[in-house]
Symmetry: C2
Subunit: 470 residues, 2 copies
């Protein structure tokens, strides 16, 4: 049997914690240290780890063990780690903590993380926590919590660094030094007037490069990029990405500075939005938790509505087939090509929709480009349809004779063009109706294109084959 390694003997690489086995070894070693009440070892070990990793280790422990470990750390450290814990685990630990301890922890957390936590508490817990906080913190919490979900205001933080225009560079650096422990970032500092209107931004880089006695006024950028608190959070993330900003100031209707959005928060928004769009593309509603945590009922609910809706959509395809029953009964060979033709229209449409949804999401294509994009799409679809028609006409001759081959080839061209036009237009239409273009997902477009495909195929078949029979 191998001996349990003590915590400080472990040399843990950051990426190694992703392995469940390594995480278990670290958690076991941490349990030993906890049982011995060896705060020094725990602190030394956690010191070498990133807060995100410490949070992962705590999540591998039982709640009471995690709480005991937290208590061995200083408050600031606790607050940092707490911000990285899973939402559910945060709530569980907060239930275990005394009300006063929890209030102290919240006071030490960064403002954006603590308002996220506050919003997740049930109303009783929210009420219980407020008296433990200082008035300024209560006000800050209430104000940040008041912004609607999905806005820049809801992801911003209010602990930004401020300077006045008359400070010298040297004084400004001193001022930032004093704010460094509390501010989310000191690399961008904001200059506001008496009414808290944003009048400039200066970077710490510019401050340290400048001569000591130069005034902030002459160093600052007086036309800084900003975003309104009620703008969508994606807008904030896109601005940060476009201008390569470390932080983006957020202003309210009266041009007053109310917070900042930092680059790391913008990354999170970007990832969440990409996930939501991706899930929508597969007709899955956004999950609030990760896939691994989601229960069966959650997964069921995220999927059933679209599935049932699409079933009813496909009834039209069925009705289309039923309508042409005579043609089919007379030429059963037509059925062989039915899945192939229908699927091709759906696939071409899904491709078009995918291209458009993403181009609209990244701003690569705008509403005004509609006509030019549609024209190019028509040309592309024609090329695609002809290629596909050539590919299937040989099989058409083999399985059904030359007449069927002609029907299949013509249908293929028409179906691919119509499917592509539907796939391309639907995202534009949804966008025009102020709906999310990502709703025009592959399965939805496929279902609509299916109906069109059935009608086109059998209509062409009826025309040509009846003509031939006559």
């Amino acid at each position: 049997m191998t001996e349990t390694k003590t915590l400080l003997d472990l040399e843990i690489d950051h990426s190694a914690l992703a392995e469940p086995e390594t995480l278990e070894i670290v958690a076991d070693a941490a349990r030993v240290v906890l049982k011995e009440g060896d705060a020094t070892s725990l602190r030394s070990f956690f010191d070498t780890q990133e807060p995100a990793d410490v949070a992962e280790i705590l999540e591998a422990l039982d709640e009471d063990e995690a709480l005991a470990a937290m208590r061995m750390l200083d408050l600031r450290e606790q607050a940092k780690i707490f911000g990285y814990l899973d939402a559910r685990y945060q709530i569980e630990l907060s239930d275990l903590m005394g009300r006063r301890d929890f209030a102290r922890l919240m006071a030490a957390m960064s403002h954006d993380e603590r308002v996220d936590l506050y919003k997740r508490l049930d109303p009783a817990a929210q009420e219980a926590i407020l008296p433990g906080l200082a008035k300024a913190e209560r006000d800050d919490l209430r104000k940040l919590a008041s912004y609607a979900e999905g806005t820049a205001g809801a992801i911003m933080t209010s602990d930004y660094a401020t300077l006045t225009p008359d400070m010298t560079a040297k004084e400004a650096i001193e001022a930032l030094r004093a704010q460094a422990l509390d501010a989310e970032t000191v690399y961008q500092a904001y200059i506001v007037d008496d009414e808290r209107r944003l009048v400039g931004v200066v970077s710490l880089r510019d401050l340290i490069v400048a001569r000591a006695n130069v005034r902030v006024r002459t160093l600052m950028d007086t036309n800084p990029v900003s975003v309104g608190a009620d703008e969508p959070r994606e807008e904030a993330a896109q601005i940060i990405s476009r201008y390569d900003l470390i932080a983006l100031p957020v202003i309210n209707g009266g041009e007053k500075l109310v917070g900042i959005v930092t680059q790391d928060d913008a990354m999170d928004v970007q990832e969440e939005e990409a996930t939501t769009d991706f899930l929508k593309s597969g007709m899955v509603s956004a999950l609030k938790t990760g896939m691994r945590e989601a229960g069966i009922y959650t997964l069921y609910r995220a999927r059933i509505v679209w599935l049932v809706l699409l079933v009813f959509g496909n009834i039209f395809s069925g009705a289309g087939i039923a309508y042409f029953e005579d043609t089919i009964a007379a030429h059963l060979a037509l059925l062989f090509f039915l899945p192939l033709l229908i699927a091709s229209g759906g696939n071409a449409g899904a491709q078009s929709a995918t291209l458009m949804v993403r181009a609209l999401a990244t701003g690569d294509v705008r509403m005004g480009d509609w006509a030019s994009v549609l024209g190019r799409e028509f040309a592309t679809a024609l090329l695609l349809g002809v290629t596909m028609a050539v590919a299937v006409s040989a099989i058409g001759v083999l399985r059904g004779g030359p007449a069927i081959a002609v029907v299949v080839a013509l249908s293929m061209i028409a179906i691919v063009i119509v499917g592509s036009m539907i796939g391309m237009s639907l995202p534009f239409l949804l966008s025009k109706l102020k709906m999310d273009p990502a709703t025009a997902s592959a399965p939805l477009v496929t279902s609509i294109a299916d109906v069109a495909g059935v009608l086109i195929y059998f209509a062409i078949a009826t025309q040509i084959l009846v003509m031939m029979d006559a």
Copy 2:
């Protein structure tokens, strides 16, 4: 007619440049200033604008106008703006510039942007530019260009700030001040030993907070997070996102520091990867340019291969139908439900695949979770299938009588379960085969599920209806 506003009269909000009309007005005003050779006005106006916006304005001008405007700015400003220009526009301008001017510009660019540009030049232009650069820059360019596309090495920059462990905080700030003009960031500084092995990282925040005579050695994080130069670039982006880093050090096989990846580059990677995955989900190959710039042939190529492949996949569905021709001929009412049943299996499968692909991409689900995820998926699919069966059985009775209703309901349950299992397993399988799980897109899963759906439906129908007829 309205008078043309002069450039300095324009008060342009950053977001306003997204409007083509505003951009045109600014471009017109810039042309006037250029014609008059009024460098002062141009510089003053550009001073109030972000480099990304100036690049957009230049792109709205003709190449020779843009070049004339660039020449009115100082070299450092030129280099910054040039980095924001479209790849194609960069090449066009570089062709217009003299070889010496272009070499000077490249020398002033940030190291990661100039290697990106260098890699886009044709071999002759690459050769032509090298003699104009200093030896250190040539070596840097060749070294950075040597990393394979898609690796952390290929997106890193080599202009990072370094310190030595024996410096005091005050000396370190002085040292960073001296490096501030050339380094990509001074907010993280790297401490390397004599062999350039990374021994620590310190933030400017910690340096300004510390007392002036404290040594870097005691302030630095001696176990910094890093990434290998040959690791995938998504890995680097994920680490930056997980640990909320401003910059991530990149090391080579010998643990030597070779560069850093900054947060803004990580955001770009994240967005590009999300776009690629999204396009894959719709069976579109990644486009090198944006949708708006892509020509018809580019779009055709990005789509035709999958379309044709899927056609041949659907031949199996057709063959399945042909195989059951007798059953169908005897019960044409079955055809009404064909599109509906097939589509349901495909849709359920597309949903499962979408969930899995994204969960694998974000690391939410790992390969080892396969069995537990599949178990839960089976339960979810059973619930979904039963709900759908209930939804369609009423139509079954109406359109085909009770026997058909039973066939349709049983088929629905079986098809939704099989479709979901296919959709869930395919991404895992692809991942196991070292292929990108995102290849398991909605259209591919739909096509596979279609074949299964046809076989299941008509097999059940044949069994039950033949039994009833007997």
